[in-house]
Symmetry: C2
Subunit: 348 residues, 2 copies
DNA sequence: TTTAGCACTCATCTCTTACGAGTGCCAACA
DNA sequence: TGTTGGCACTCGTAAGAGATGAGTGCTAAA
């Protein structure tokens, strides 16, 4: 049985109509399509063939057909005509990012929310820190008698700070001593290296002072870990409630989305560009009724994070894929400006 | 018609049974209650009286009765026997806070999430900054050639930092100059005072350098505003999906909860202790199908924030009210340790 | 290969009926 | 006077019976 041109046109029409209406598509509806100028009976023959080939499913005998996962896959991989973004749409996305001097953390959190609002899907955004990123500088700023602000600056430009309340008075002498000590021990090491064992070993070197300075050492460890682990943001999970696909599964999927442990690995390991997981293609059972679109974004040449879209299998791929692609690109560009230094000159 | 003891017992039984089962309560069920040793017919007479008095509602003629808002109100204000927390329950809540050296921001975010998990309700946590809080110290730490970390330390102990990328090389001389300038102009002023106009006026004083340093001045403004505005955290909105009360209104209420503009004023202005808004008592129309429990938490003597619980009107008040109370108290204690300085000695 | 015709399937809607939980009211009783 | 048993009544809910109609598969003719 050949997957000929007319079958392709019919499959496309079924996918697109079903995405639009959510109703199984029948032969009569299809025969009225501009691209398909044959009678309902002929369409039925073709539909029977497409069913045999595994591209269609039938909710029940007397209903029309809906696309199977294979059907969606064939549509996305070959049949779909991607709708390139209009200038207005590009402007719309650009406007979402129209903020002066963005804080990188907030930028991503806001981006996740904005993308959800824009697409009507739930979103996940995640940053990843390359293994070669090192500690570049550690600083300690006395803020108050016994309070200091600890800063860790990583070689990829990320800065994290933490307020530490200590049990003793911190004067500039103590601060200077600890600053030098911490920079000597931590700078140049990759974030990946800075494990609990590493920190214990460093702490031991403080000898009698190790107890006193321990909160600061632990603080540095926590900050390094925070930078290395990256961030995980959610947006618009409640959007899923608008689809009746989720009427009885909304809680389950909303819970899943907030679990970084589960979703992180799935969205984190993908090639560049937009990757699509349709329904049962997902490895997580809770996601099998959903589709997941994932796009990486880069700072310069370096993979820097992923942003993902979660929605019903019946989502408008031809619109969402290019939108997500443009969005991720834009996000990367903006982050590149923020972290303009250190991209590519030390990855090796 | 007297609201006598038996009527009170019957109302209590109706409220408690309805909270437990979600079904309208009938006279037969009530007559079997240990505290109510009369026949169903007598109970019916009493129920008719309670209905007359406005304490009960009737979904339809042939159903049992459910409490009206007045009924819940009477129950909560006088009839309810608050279940004091067991030691185990106290330990359970204590365990939620069992984290060494908490970051105040994270503490509250985690608390909101933990409370939602613990109570099965959606939660909102909000910090408020008293009007008398001033800027205590501003610091600028060069992190990289053209990158600095800006720190604002407020008199209530809150520290916020922000990374600023500048268009020029920052050496220690420049940093020292700006640090002195900023501290001279901002320190001692209340956060409330630091408006856009104030910042413009300060900027003007930099004369020719005002353009150069503007990102830093704006950064200080943003940080001050961030401290003054406080934080707004949500937790467990998806918990509401477990109640069929929300089966068709979940989206609406979840959206509302995320709007600080709308919910902030409602939960922010309440006396100390736990305040309860039952259904229609709420000023926001979207909340009229829900109950809202709000508790303030304090640092020392000073009002510092509020934590609220949102759930179906049919919620277990006798359990949740003391739990929320204890939780807020615990939260205040923990924050007091974090911000142990400056409480009460400068409010005036 | 395409198409018209036709019998068949099956979800959905509507109408009817039966059921039962719960009520209100009344008369009798302590 | 308060309490109780009895009884007719209400009304939501569940179950069953048609009727409807969208859509199919198959066959035979063009």
């Amino acid at each position: 049985m050949r997957f000929d041109d007319r079958k392709k046109r019919i499959l496309s029409a079924i996918v697109e109509t079903y995405i639009r209406t959510g109703e199984p598509v029948g032969s009569k509806t299809l025969s009225e399509f501009p691209g398909i100028c044959v009678s309902p009976a002929t369409v039925r023959n073709e539909m029977a063939a497409l069913f045999e080939m595994g591209f269609l499913e039938q909710p029940h005998t007397s209903a029309g057909r809906i696309p199977s996962h294979l059907g969606y896959r064939a549509y996305i991989d070959g049949l779909m005509r991607v709708k390139p973004l209009t200038e207005d749409e590009k402007d719309g996305i650009d406007a979402l990012f129209n903020i002066g001097d963005p804080d990188p953390d907030k930028l991503l959190a806001d981006a996740a929310e904005a993308l959800a609002e824009y697409t009507g899907c739930a979103t996940v955004a995640m940053t990843t820190t390359p293994h070669y990123v090192t500690v570049e500088h550690i600083d300690i700023v006395p803020a108050d008698e016994s309070t200091v602000v600890l800063l860790v600056i990583a070689s990829n430009g990320v800065v994290k700070s933490k307020v530490c309340r200590l049990g003793f008075r911190v004067n500039t002498g103590i601060a200077d001593f600890f600053r030098k000590f911490a920079n000597d021990r931590f700078c140049g090491h990759t974030l990946k290296d800075i494990s609990a064992e590493f920190v214990t070993a460093v702490s031991v070197q403080l000898g009698d002072y190790s107890n006193v300075f321990n909160p600061l050492i632990v603080g540095i460890y926590e900050l390094c870990k925070e930078v290395y682990d990256g961030q995980y943001y959610l947006g618009g999970r409640e959007k899923l409630l608008t689809y009746n696909e989720y009427s009885d599964r909304a809680l389950e999927i909303m819970k899943l989305i907030s679990k970084r442990d589960e979703l992180g690995p799935v969205i984190g390991n993908n090639p560049s560009g937009v990757t699509v997981f349709i329904g049962k293609e997902n490895s997580l059972s809770q996601l099998m009724g959903s589709s997941l679109l994932v796009a990486r974004f880069n700072i310069g040449e370096n993979d820097c994070g992923t942003i993902g879209l979660i929605g019903p299998v019946r989502m408008d791929y031809s619109r969402l894929i290019p939108h997500l692609e443009y969005f991720a690109e834009k996000l990367g560009t903006l982050l590149s400006i923020t972290y303009q230094r250190k991209t590519g000159d030390e990855n090796g």
